[in-house]
Symmetry: C2
């Protein structure tokens, strides 16, 4: 039996290319005669545009065109509301170029296309835009309050959406509770900060009527569909390619950003390739962000700590527009009860417009906020009931035999009631306690105090609905010359190692080395049914589709090989790129099988016995290709999940605070996580650690700051703090594997897992560390040194 590569720590097959500089990112695509775009962006959070004079820009040498909203014809329309929902009250999406009003600093107002970027930028500065500034209310709570200035004059109270959900009967639970814990938590806005910004390059081919767009998008198929509609070109004549893309994290799954529509438009209009590469400043003001939410959460508990009810009411900052509808708030609201049974839930939110960069999902998508809310509330409950934090969780966990666990009334992003598929939460907590060394905690705290430091234990538990549908497809073909296996899927990768794990999945079915599996994604010319890369869904949805397609191909290989070897199908084994008769040395290579199953041999085919056969000259009975058969070895299949798979995990940290410096150091960090069966532990670890780095930013460093006029104050890497490698602790990862019963591979998603619980964990650790100093509760994320200072000051005063 062939060695299974599923589960093995296979080396990433893309590293060699990327690490030696042979990646091809969009800026590497060097089309002859390419023109370059640059954008005039609003310098005001809210203003009326009185006039635009682009004459000087148009006259500037090297400028090919200047576009305002007046120059883009039918594209001067609202960009799509991607997920409609009945709770949306005043859903507003952006136009490609602002008409009349601007709503945030950075909004696109005009586009210049010129012979090079320098010229285009110079010409942008020559466009005279007469703005009449308007007053703004920037802070979320204020924007939601009485008398706030409106982002959209016709949207009352800045309320974009208002939604209340009930599961069970929260009111009656609260009525009969022995104890109610109530806290308010606040999570700040951050951003994805991918290494490569967004980028679009478009080439219109007048001769063939084909539009090719290279777009650093997470959703090439959807972009193609939209562009085809917008430009009234049949989909088959639009090809969207997402080549190597340097990070996405959700920021690149919005479509359309203005640039994604305007650059192809200019290419068609100018009959010339046009390229736009986002610079870092643009990424801070022109690409979407996420996180700000303020939750007021209440837990209704029995005397012994069983939580029988939960009420959560939160405000969600959606920025100036709401292209994804309630996606983030919906995920936050439906994840609010975490791993706990809590049978009665009422959760209410309002999505509020603020005159800031629009908000769309960023790695975690609402989950870090709800995890922070429920986990900090559980800690508070434990404290109030005098229970151990571990114990209060243990008493409330959904038990391993209680799956599937359904929360009727809470509808997840797939439109179905939340339903956790599988897991072992008590075991995860137990492993976490062991790994962090809970039994030595007092000793460690004492040791820290002996050095003048304060050590605390941080704890955070998360659940995550992953593998969102509706479907993805997989296409598998064996190459008739080399026997290499090509795998196509409709996703696009931004560093998630799809090329490796999808190769492993196909390799197992076909008995080849994963190195001989070539995964092609992000190209609608290769496969064009599918959705996009987001929501930790690739392994679950594309992975299982590829598994199913490869299994079909395996059957074809076995049938053909059995014919070729005159053996029983039951005796055929696939191993080492060959189909063998078990227990013998008789075998045919996959290349030979792929050649033999095509009734036509092409010239020079090395795998063909007769090297050069073109038309068949050999005798055959019946048609050369039997009815219902296809030539070669090629199969397509789809996987469509019945509902989401729920990954989960438990983080713990030993957090050391220097009360003098108000600095925080993480002495030890443990991540127990369970994403079902692991395809590749190295890749899982990479995802977990990468996610944790972004989580750590949310815990201690990252906050997008706007001043009271709505000007971004730290829109650059000089001012916006991200954790470097120096800030990242070593992470002890403990794998658990509870297979998902929902899909053949038993996998769940892991892309966002690392991020979710970090703020809750680190900040609970700070709180625990500083409890002896009377610093009180830390219910905001991130925690900056000045906040520690203020808490300590307040604690001192209280003491």
């Amino acid at each position: 039996m062939a060695t299974r590569t599923f589960g093995a720590a296979v080396q990433r097959n893309i590293d060699d290319r990327l690490l030696t500089g042979r990646g091809h990112f969009i800026d590497d695509i060097d089309l002859p005669d390419v023109a370059h775009a640059a954008f005039a962006r609003s310098p005001f959070a809210r203003a009326r545009i009185a006039s635009i004079d682009a004459d000087a820009a148009r006259a500037h040498p090297g400028v090919l065109a200047v576009y305002t909203c007046e120059d883009i014809g039918h594209l001067d329309q609202d960009l799509p509301l991607l997920i409609p929902h009945q709770s949306l009250i005043g859903a507003r999406t952006q136009r490609p170029l602002a008409r009349d009003d601007v709503h945030y600093v950075g909004q696109t107002v005009a586009m210049v296309v010129a012979v090079d970027r320098y010229t285009a930028e110079d010409a942008v500065r020559l466009i005279e835009i007469d703005y009449e500034p308007l007053p703004v209310t920037v802070e979320l709570e204020a924007a939601a309050g009485e008398g706030a200035h409106l982002v959209h004059p016709d949207v009352e109270g800045n309320v974009a959406a208002h939604f209340v959900q009930n599961s069970g009967d929260a009111a009656s639970a609260f009525a009969r509770a022995d104890h109610v814990t109530k806290i308010t938590v606040r999570v700040e806005r951050s951003c994805a900060a991918p290494m490569e910004g967004r980028a679009v390059c478009a080439r219109w081919d007048r001769i063939t009527g084909q539009l090719t767009v290279w777009d650093g998008t997470q959703a090439p198929i959807s972009v193609r569909g939209g562009l085809a509609s917008l430009f009234d070109i049949d989909e088959d004549r639009v090809r969207v390619i997402a080549p190597d893309v340097g990070g996405g994290f959700g920021q690149k799954v919005l479509f359309f950003y203005p640039e994604e529509v305007l650059v192809p438009m200019a290419s068609i209009g100018l009959d010339r390739p046009v390229k736009w590469i986002e610079d870092r400043t643009e990424n801070f003001v022109g690409s979407t962000q996420e996180r700000t939410q303020v939750h007021t959460i209440e837990l209704a508990a029995t005397r012994d700590g069983e939580v029988i009810g939960l009420r959560d009411s939160f405000l969600h900052d959606t920025g100036a527009f709401i292209p994804y509808g309630i996606a983030i708030a919906q995920v936050a609201s439906t994840s609010i009860a975490g791993p706990y049974r809590i049978p009665n839930i009422e959760v209410e939110f309002k999505a509020i417009y603020t005159p800031t960069v629009p908000v769309t999902p960023y790695r975690g998508c609402g989950r870090p906020q709800s995890c922070f809310a429920i986990e900090r509330a559980m800690d508070k409950l434990a404290e109030e009931l005098g229970l151990d934090r571990f114990e209060v969780r243990r008493r409330n966990f959904i038990q391993p035999d209680q799956f599937p666990w359904k929360r009727e009334g809470l509808l997840f992003a797939d439109g179905l009631a939340v339903c956790y598929d599988s897991g072992d939460y008590p075991e995860a907590l137990k492993k976490c306690a062991e790994a962090i060394g809970l039994d030595r905690l007092d000793e460690l705290k004492a040791e820290a105090r002996s050095r003048g430091k304060h050590l605390g234990l941080g704890l955070g538990f998360y659940v995550e609905g992953t593998g969102l549908g509706p479907y993805e497809g997989g296409h598998v073909r064996i190459h008739p010359i080399t026997g290499k296996v090509y795998v196509n899927t409709g996703l696009a990768g931004q560093g998630q190692s799809h090329e490796t794990v999808f190769a492993q999945i196909a390799a197992d079915q076909l008995g080849v080395d994963p190195k001989d599996v070539i995964v092609v994604e992000g190209d609608t010319g290769a496969f064009d049914w599918g959705v996009a890369t987001f929501a930790s869904r690739a392994a679950v949805v594309s992975g299982n589709a590829i598994h199913k397609a490869a299994a079909k191909a395996r059957e074809m290989v076995i049938e053909a090989a059995a014919n070729m070897l005159e053996a029983s199908k039951d005796d055929i084994e696939l191993e080492d790129g060959k189909a063998k008769i078990a227990g013998s040395d008789r075998a045919v290579t996959l290349a030979e099988v792929a050649t033999a199953t095509n009734p036509l041999r092409y010239a020079f085919n090395k795998a063909a016995q007769s090297a050069t056969q073109f038309a068949p000259a050999s005798k055959h009975d019946g048609p050369p290709l039997a009815e219902g058969k296809a030539p070669g070895i090629e199969a397509t299949d789809y996987y469509s999940p019945p509902y989401s798979t729920w990954a989960y995990g438990c983080h713990a940290a030993l957090v050391e605070v220097d009360a003098d410096l108000c600095s925080v150091a993480i002495r030890k960090y443990v991540c127990v996580h369970d994403c079902g069966n692991m395809i590749n532990p190295t890749v899982v670890e990479g995802q977990v650690v990468g996610g944790m780095a972004q989580g750590l930013g949310g815990a201690l460093y990252e906050k997008i700051i706007y001043d009271e006029d709505g000007n971004p104050r730290n829109a650059g890497f000089m001012d916006f703090l991200m954790p470097y490698a120096t800030e990242m602790p070593k992470v002890d990862i403990v794998h658990m594997e509870t297979p998902s019963p929902l899909n053949p591979l038993g996998v769940k998603g892991v892309g966002e897992a690392g991020t979710i619980a970090v703020p809750a964990t680190v900040i609970s650790g700070i709180e625990d560390a500083l409890k002896p100093l009377g610093a009180g509760h830390f219910h905001e994320a991130p925690v900056f040194p000045h906040m520690i200072f203020e808490k300590l000051e307040a604690g001192d005063k209280a003491a």
Copy 2:
């Protein structure tokens, strides 16, 4: 019920584009930085290359590279023998660039790539090639005779292949025959002379590792397979596109011509696009030709004209190489008995090398020669037995109730015994006699004589094995935005109206206007399983594959529409781009069906009720895409014929000869033909008339002339005569439609039909016209005026 477009004279959907100059032929593909190739070609029919000095050429300004056989690495190998066969004795194929020896005038010896074609041509003239000429034997019979100079020193007697086939027992038939008729016929060499010559343009993309080749080939998929093997690039990274191609006629189905390998090689080597456009002189010396055969045919007959045996022995001129093996001679030999029962056949041929342009199939492929042989022999038999020409044919026809009619022992190109599938030959002859006005023949002859002219009746009957396997595929997809239907197949078109007839086939299944069906072929990026365009196979093989795929798509549409309309599948009709409930006005458009069957709506989709849904937010039971289902409306299927379909037809002509001028005029021409069910009579008529024009060239005008040293004497349109529109008679076409029982559409091929019988028909008419003048028999094609003059002189002398 929707109107069926199958059988309707639908306007060709490509004419608008082509007639208004919006075609995109390879020379229209204007790649930036493209370099241009030109070739040094042998000026000798046979010579040894003593040395090549390319220094001056390499030093010429603007030259990027000069290649001789020494410079092309592993490509310095024999190009493929496309169809191996056991009868091949000394199969020789050409190398991309000659090594040591040249074998015909025009053979490629060196390639120059330069910044433009002018520079490349100038540099070609700077290459000093020292040839040592060798003696040659050019004429076919002489080359096959004793003491002939050899084309390949190691191939004895210039015999490339020798093959004898027997069906029944010819010897015993001849032994018991009452009468034996024996004649020798000769058919000369012609050429395809497409309006557009061959052309290759290649672009190597270093960044993506992709090779794109635009090639005016009839076989893009096979070219791709071969290039992938040769350059060791996986097939998925090689794309071959045959865009608009101005005529092929078999000349463009050879692969590889040297240029098809060398131009991509140069593009990869120079990392720059390279283009080569064949000029007219090159087409005459560097592209393949066909026709020269000399048949000695004998018929063994009973007293009353029943032919009980046939012996044919012929020489086939294969030129300097034999890349297609015995393809032409095999087709000629297996078609030799035409529509006649003749149960005992012995046919023998030798393929002979001559130091001339290599021979590969040209429209008709051996059939014009065998038709000329059998039809002229039947006329001679009639004359010798004192029977009417019509009557002797009637007595020998396979009867309508005798199909399938098998000739065991004669193996056709598909490797199976010749087996005629269906037909009504007596009816075709009857219709032909009626249409030509046989009953008024004496009157018309007298009228001509009254004007000093001589009128004769020409007659020719042909059969043609069409629809050769092994298979083709069809892919049908309905576009979710516009409802347009995309049809892809692996063929390539060169003017055969595939775009129209394939659209009709799909339109019928899906109830749409053929104008809304977009056929994409000739692009391995669109569909890459299949064979090529040749042997009158497109309608049969691709046509039925598309029919099957469209029928699958139809079922999908009906099922989805029944769900959408909450109706029974049995009540759904497809008409006018809609699926309707029969007898009601309730309907959904195909665009709506294609949208609804994809669980994902893309932004801006006009057909979606909700314009902008991205991720699904609606409730569903089970997976959004049911197990075993694929999204959208898309289907692929293949058709693989069990054996060839046999088209046939009968031509008759009233041929008027001016005995003083020795000129020939065709007064009336009738073509009765039967290609099974006709998809589009206009297209069928276009094929028939176009084929007839090339047949008329073979009857009266076209002959490639080599002098005794093997120099082509008429390699240009100034000297090589082709019929113009002024020479073409009006053709009265009589359609018969005997469906083929072998395929769902009941179609047979018609691409070559018009060509085959013309020489036999016209020349038998000349013979009949001049019989009163004692001019004797005309057993050579074409007949030039000087030949009539000589026959009349000889007749006068004999008288």
